[in-house]
Subunit: 356 residues, 2 copies
């Protein structure tokens, strides 16, 4: 605490990202893609590393927006680009949510949402997930200044259908509804298909997960032009050039590399299903995931104890010391080999438990 | 305007960056470095373009902070890294300046400062530069919630001495004083040397200008740890990973490449002095610059008219339609060849004026 911090800074409770370990570990804790970006992406980035770096990037990322628009089946005027979807989400909270009415989001969801609210002086009301960790769209029929739904939700991995999202959109014509689709490519339907019909819909996506470019920091928002213009106003009151030249080049190439992306998505989905079946077979509760991670619970061992054991065995998963989910672990789907090691380690451990 | 924008967004007047022209022009409008980064910088970035991009970058940019600390003669705990100095400046306004008292900065300075204030709900009081466009430190002896001084100032290019900065720091022990040193390497003294003695001092620097990496987006703040911690609180309430892997690698390499940097700085300074002498020789008023740009005025032609003529001749400079400086042009110092063309074009034009 410092006397130089203003009141808001003193009251902030910053988000704590998952650990980036210095030692070599099987890293299943921050939902990164286990497969690297394709060679065409790396080649495009190497080409972008040239004498032109002395010049500012295109502040409007025109070519990248046009490429994403073609990829997503929308127009460039429907696309906003930022320095990772965390920045894009923060801009959306900043541009659209009023101070007077609470933002709604599930009580169990991406834990950055309440942090954005605190930073921006917004109030929020967590809306309880049902006992099975699903979202009931009917719960979003109350006064609010905005709604944020991660679909699939994190850290549960459970997806809403498009018709359930439409129920929320229709019930809230005067609120901006942000659908955070960080994990959508792993098994949910994108709400981008709905933007023409719902001026209150903003869809946020990222290249960090499905495109294996977490190290690059590129995120998108998709919506009608008036929402995109609102995001641009906030961006241009903060940082004119958020996405650097090399990142723009890599993102453009990756959006054109659907072969690599689709193959890796298929592998990750198949691995997820295999691991889920295997874990259930040895007594685990595994939430039904549409994402690249699974939430798991074991009847005979606390999540923290299993987390600590795995860490000792150099397998890093994510433990949340939070209400309702403190007896679950979130496990990113890694490569087949990594998940084989994970399953063997888990099975050995629970066998040792059963003997005690 | 949209009914979905909140009140703050409706009232924003976003910053307008200098044009990034699509056609080939002599580009003297956004104070970029005319010489490219060194080969070792490009090589380090190409090396960073590899399969590891699937993983998040180090959120704390530890190696980059350590490298910058060694470069600047401070400790890593004194260093904050962000996505360009615009982001770093915004975080500083956000973390330290209270809503209750006005932020002070010169009436003629970087025009992003009032935009940050509007975005963050802060009030500000512009402090008039003297008639010769210099800053009088005694003018910063009044009630305030924070002070921002660009040194050298932009777009004037005029620098304060360290003792003048100390006068401001001593007069304001309870306010954070931000010294924005975007252009310091081109001819001013850095206030980094003062951070041990002034807990209220935050120095902001960038790799965009002196290090020729505008396309990469890396900026720094230097100060005592309590100020750095305040910036980290804001960063972690906004975006955990602001600086991507390739940018971190390029910035580290450039900070070690003092040979290239110093040679280019020397050339730019020599070019600036030569151009200034030549312009004065043909009747221009040229403010004394410690930066990589000059502010110029001609007695017999409006700045806008000269701007339009230069643009027609494919030379892009910066015209500000703002009080006090609307009869000046800001001209970035380009290569020797670019400045020769600029001088010839200007001279031809004013000769044609005199004949009319």
């Amino acid at each position: 605490m410092s006397r130089f911090w203003n009141e808001r800074t003193r009251n902030l409770k910053p988000y704590v990202p998952g650990e980036q370990p210095k030692e070599t570990m099987i890293k299943l804790n921050t939902n990164e893609n286990p497969y690297p970006p394709g060679e065409s992406v790396l080649a495009a980035m190497r080409d972008a590393v040239n004498g032109g770096l002395r010049l500012y990037p295109d502040p409007e990322a025109t070519e990248l927006r046009e490429t994403f628009a073609a990829y997503a089946g929308v127009k460039a005027e429907n696309v906003f680009v930022g320095n990772g979807s965390d920045e894009v989400l923060s801009f959306a909270f900043d541009a659209f949510f009023p101070a007077e009415r609470p933002v709604l989001f599930p009580d169990v969801t991406y834990s950055f949402y309440p942090v954005y609210c605190a930073h921006l002086g917004l109030t929020y009301e967590p809306v309880a997930l049902k006992d099975d960790f699903t979202i009931d769209p009917a719960d979003y029929r109350r006064e609010n200044g905005g709604i944020v739904i991660a679909n699939p939700n994190a850290p549960t991995g459970i997806a809403l259908s498009l018709s359930e999202i439409e129920t929320i959109l229709k019930a809230n014509p005067d609120s901006v509804v942000v659908i955070d689709e960080a994990y959508v490519c792993f098994g949910a339907e994108s709400a981008v298909a709905l933007i023409d019909r719902y001026p209150n819909l903003l869809v946020v996506q990222t290249m960090s997960k499905s495109h294996a470019l977490a190290g690059l920091r590129v995120g998108f928002a998709v919506g009608q032009p008036e929402l995109i213009d609102g995001l641009n106003r906030v961006k241009n009151a903060f940082n004119s050039y958020p996405v650097d030249r090399v990142a723009q080049a890599g993102a453009i190439a990756s959006l054109k590399d659907s072969g690599t992306i689709d193959a890796n998505l298929n592998t990750i989905r198949a691995t997820r299903e295999g691991v889920s079946v295997a874990l259930r077979g040895i007594g685990f509760d595994v939430l039904p995931s549409s994402s690249n991670f699974i939430m798991i619970h074991y009847w005979n061992c606390s999540a923290k104890r299993l987390f600590d054991h795995l860490r000792k065995e150099k397998i890093l998963v994510r433990y949340f010391n939070l209400p309702r989910i403190d007896d679950y672990l979130r496990v990113t789907i890694g490569t087949k080999d990594e998940m084989r090691t994970f399953l063997d380690t888990v099975e050995d451990f629970i066998n040792s438990l059963d003997k005690n």
